[in-house]
Symmetry: C2
Subunit: 211 residues, 2 copies
C-alpha cells in the first residue's frame, strides 16, 4: 500500500459506514451537517463507530470527556452504555446547550451529565473513571494526563483524538503544537503505566489501557 | 491529510511501537524477522498490539483462529488472556510446529491448543466462541462467516485481517479475490447481526461485535 493515500482509505470506510443500518441516522446526519457548516471539529462517523465498539467491550460505568463540543462523541459513548454515565464538559455554554438538545433527541439524557467549565478541572473531580476521552486543546494533552491518570481505574482507558494531527506529526520540523502532541504520544507509548495502540482512523485515535 | 501516504503513517506508528517496553521483545523480533526472511504474511507489530488491547477489553475465554501461520497473532491473543485458550489452526503441520515452539518460548503453551487441518472445519467444532480471528484464504471469508456465526457468542467478536487487501478494495475494476473481500466487508457492515468497525492498521482489520 506504499502509494496509497490515507484519504482514499477513509473514503472507502465512509462508503461502508453508509450501508450500515444505524439508529438515529437522521440525528447523526444533522450533527455531522452542522459540524460541516460551522467548520466545527468533531470526530467523524468512523471514529464514532469505533468509540461505540470500544465502549461496548469495556462496559464502563463512568466516561469523562474533556472537550465535548456539541456532543457528537458523547452520543456514541452514551449510546453504547448499558449503565452508568458520560460526563460532558465544554467551556462554552452554547456548546453544552446544543449537546443537551441533541442527546435529548436520542433519549440519552439519563446517561449524560453536562458541565460548563474547564474540562480538565471538572475531570479531576471524578475518581474511579473507566474511560477518559481527550478532545481539548492539543498542546495540553501531556499536562492533562499527568493530572488525571490517578483518577483512572486500573484497566481503564484513556482515549485521545487528533494524535496524528493532520499528519503534522510526520513533519521534520513540526510547529510547537505538533511537538506537544508528539511528546504526548511518546510519553504514552513509553510509559510503564499504559499499554497503547494508535489507531489511524481520521485524525488518529490513541487508545491506552492503564496497567 | 488529503495528500498523506498511508505508508508514512505506518512508519510513524512503527516508531512509537519501538519506544514501548514490550515483554518478549527478542522473541517477537525473531518471529518478525523470520516472516520478513520467508516473505511469510503475518500481521505486524501495530496489529499485534491492537489485538492485545482488544483482547484485554473483551476478556475472552475462547479465541479461535482460522489460519494461524506460525503463531504471531496467536502470541498476542494468548499473552492478553487472563484465563481460557486460543485455538491455533493451520493446514501445514510445519507452521503449527513452529507456532508451538514460539509460544513455548513465551511460556504460553497452557493458553494454546494446536490443530493441524482445515481451519474452517476445525473452527466449527467450537461453540460459544468469544473471538473468531480470520486470517485464511481471503476469498473464503464470506462463506466462512456464514458457517461459523452461530458458534459465536452474543457480544462476541469476529476479527478479520486483510480487509483492505493492499488497497485493492479501492480499485474500480478489482480482481475476483478482491471482489470477494469487498463482498465480505459489505455483508458485515450491512448485516443486522453485527456492528462493525474497519480499522485501517496495516492491511485493514475488521472488528465486528455480534449483537
Amino acid at each position: 500500500m506504499n502509494n496509497l493515500l490515507f484519504y482514499d482509505i477513509q473514503e472507502y470506510l465512509d462508503k461502508l459506514n453508509k450501508i450500515s443500518k444505524t439508529e438515529n441516522e437522521v440525528l447523526l446526519k444533522e450533527m455531522e451537517d452542522l459540524a460541516s457548516r460551522l467548520n466545527f471539529p468533531i470526530v467523524n462517523r468512523s471514529v464514532g463507530r469505533f468509540l461505540y465498539l470500544i465502549t461496548k467491550l469495556k462496559k464502563p460505568k463512568l466516561v469523562v470527556e474533556i472537550g465535548s463540543g456539541f456532543g457528537y462523541s458523547a452520543y456514541w459513548f452514551a449510546k453504547a452504555l448499558d449503565e452508568g454515565k458520560v460526563i460532558l464538559t465544554d467551556y462554552k455554554e452554547e456548546n453544552i446547550k446544543m449537546a443537551k438538545n441533541f442527546l435529548g433527541k436520542a433519549n440519552l439524557l439519563e446517561k449524560a451529565e453536562f458541565r460548563v467549565g474547564n474540562g480538565v478541572e471538572v475531570a479531576k473531580e471524578y475518581k474511579e473513571v473507566d474511560i477518559f476521552f481527550f478532545d481539548h486543546e492539543k498542546s495540553k494533552y501531556l499536562d492533562t494526563v499527568l493530572q488525571i491518570k490517578d483518577n483512572l481505574k486500573s484497566g481503564g482507558l484513556l482515549i485521545a483524538d487528533n494524535t496524528l494531527w493532520h499528519g503534522k506529526v510526520l513533519e521534520e520540523s513540526p510547529d510547537n503544537q505538533t511537538k506537544k502532541i508528539k511528546e504526548f504520544n511518546e510519553y504514552m507509548f513509553s510509559s510503564p503505566e499504559f499499554f497503547c495502540s494508535l489507531v489511524p482512523i481520521r485524525d488518529g485515535v490513541l487508545v491506552a489501557i492503564k496497567l
